[in-house]
Symmetry: C3
Subunit: 248 residues, 3 copies
């Protein structure tokens, strides 16, 4: 079993692991010739994260056969936090440890222990009647606005508009964006939908917005949501969240 990969954009790895780290404690990465993959439920079993760091994001990517690398995510983030954005970063399996090397003005290396865990999470099969391509910061605005009045957010869409709103305690907030607005890049809706989601999860997901200025949001009616961030040819990061089943 041999794995060695070099990436010149440590931010890509650091920021995606950071977003993931708020949801899970241990990460099981599947490494194949296509890249590095992670799929996991959060510890409360309410959300799922899928991360795909493509081999094409790396300067070099060598793996002899499919393998799984399990580590404590806190170990990994504390190491990645130490990278400078000008460093190039090498990941390598060595002596049953994950060896991470930063190469910049100096050579700096970190070893973290491997865990004995397997990835068993299957991708859920979901179909969404609504797809919204939107500036990531708009979603962030809606989430932070909603937080003023509630701990949940109502996401609604129809063929012409997307609305994020919250209500509580005689207070209300609403962000509405319509087809034709510059920040709403695309809106495809085959029906009118409405679902309610817990804000605490969305606040974690939206951290990934720093990776990509645009996000794809998939919605249904009283149905889970899926939020995707992509960096072309490099990274796909998806978050799936169950709706809150309750009347407004």
């Amino acid at each position: 079993m041999k794995f060695k990969a070099v990436i010149d954009q440590p931010d890509l790895l650091r920021d995606s692991i950071n977003a993931v780290s708020t949801l899970i404690n241990e990460a099981v990465f599947k490494v194949t010739k296509s890249g590095i993959e992670l799929r996991a439920m959060d510890s409360a079993n309410v959300s799922m994260v899928e991360m795909r760091l493509l081999a094409s994001a790396f300067r070099s990517f060598d793996v002899d056969k499919e393998t799984e690398i399990a580590v404590n995510i806190g170990d990994l983030t504390s190491v990645l936090k130490r990278a400078k954005s000008t460093d190039s970063l090498t990941l390598e399996l060595k002596d049953n440890q994950l060896h991470i090397e930063f190469s910049g003005e100096t050579k700096r290396s970190f070893n973290i222990p491997l865990l004995d865990l397997k990835q068993e999470q299957k991708a859920p099969s979901l179909e969404f009647p609504v797809m919204i391509k939107i500036k990531s910061e708009i979603i962030e605005d809606g989430i932070n606005d909603a937080e003023i009045v509630s701990d949940a957010i109502i996401l609604e869409a129809d063929t012409s508009a997307f609305t994020m709103r919250a209500e509580g305690d005689n207070r209300k907030t609403e962000l509405k964006i319509e087809k034709g607005d510059e920040a709403l890049i695309e809106l495809k809706a085959s029906s009118k939908v409405k679902s309610i989601f817990p804000l605490d999860y969305l606040k974690k997901f939206i951290k990934a917005g720093k990776l990509s200025p645009e996000a794809n949001l998939h919605l249904g009616n009283e149905y889970p949501m899926k939020l995707d961030f992509k960096v072309l040819d490099k990274l796909q990061l998806s978050f799936i969240l169950a709706p809150r089943i309750e009347s407004e």
Copy 2:
């Protein structure tokens, strides 16, 4: 009763409400054709704040008759904090709520409940023998310097100089500025004065310094002080503070 006003500088509203919010919990705004006015004692009855946001600060300002709008100031600041400085902001009375809309890349709106309160505070009648027009940051320096050694500050002025000083526990600090110094824009004194004030209040007032690079300070001998910040044709914000009656 109809009220709708649009302002293109949300910072003006946000920063003045922020300065006021450290003193009071509920705000009763009087809205007339001239603009929006607030006059209130702080909850400890030691200081008074007067705010006048002139109709000319707004892009449009429509009110059919004099009316009072009372809201929780925490509600208001948490909403205004969400504005971007490029947003234009609409205030409107609607369905017995204050409706605030941000218009930028998207339309975002917030509703906060009205309170059933009246403004009853009368303006005190004060005459000051000393008026000092000075850079706001100089006052801020004097306050922060004084805080190192005491919880009170001594303000002194005569025909030629203005002094902010503090003493305590074998430590001393003094900021002195004289006629002719560039940062002392104007000094009018008909007599020599000295008063002592609690620093905690001054630290709250001086937050308004970010609204205006210059301040007008009015002083008397063992007498209240009045600190004014103005943005020409837009905003007047005044703080009045009772002196500490004590020997040094």
Copy 3:
């Protein structure tokens, strides 16, 4: 006894006193015609600091005879923190107090009490087989990297390389820099050395890195270290630290 000195770079004084202030509570400065000197053990008697602010760092420096000035270091740092980097700063002995004046847009002055203490610390006599001239930020990187896995750092050097590393709990980190690397300005080693040091002290010392982009590190085998920061003709700041006597 007369002492008055004016310095146009308040940062020089503030940053060096700041670095020192994490180690000691009272400072006894020896003032001579050559400048201002401080030598002290930290309160746990594990490290020693030596500071020399040369008379040539000052615009004017007048002292009639060698004298000692003892102050509470908290008093001094809280005053120096109030200086703007464009202020010129005057230190003066007056009425048995240390009088510090900032001269900028205004004149601001602070008086702090003198303490009745003497400096009795002798310089230790140490000889180091290894001297390393290195960018300060490299040392800072090594210290912060090590902190992820341990509370101690192993410093090693031989004729060709300098290594900072840490181990703990199945985790490892290593920063290695070799002769010829740009960030390693000079490496003189007459033998191979290795010593272990507590990270908490190094984290305090390295604050002085903001004063000087380069540092001189002196090492021996299971022997104290000495870390020097210099600003040519102005400042010398040295930290000496006892090694941890333990097997890895």
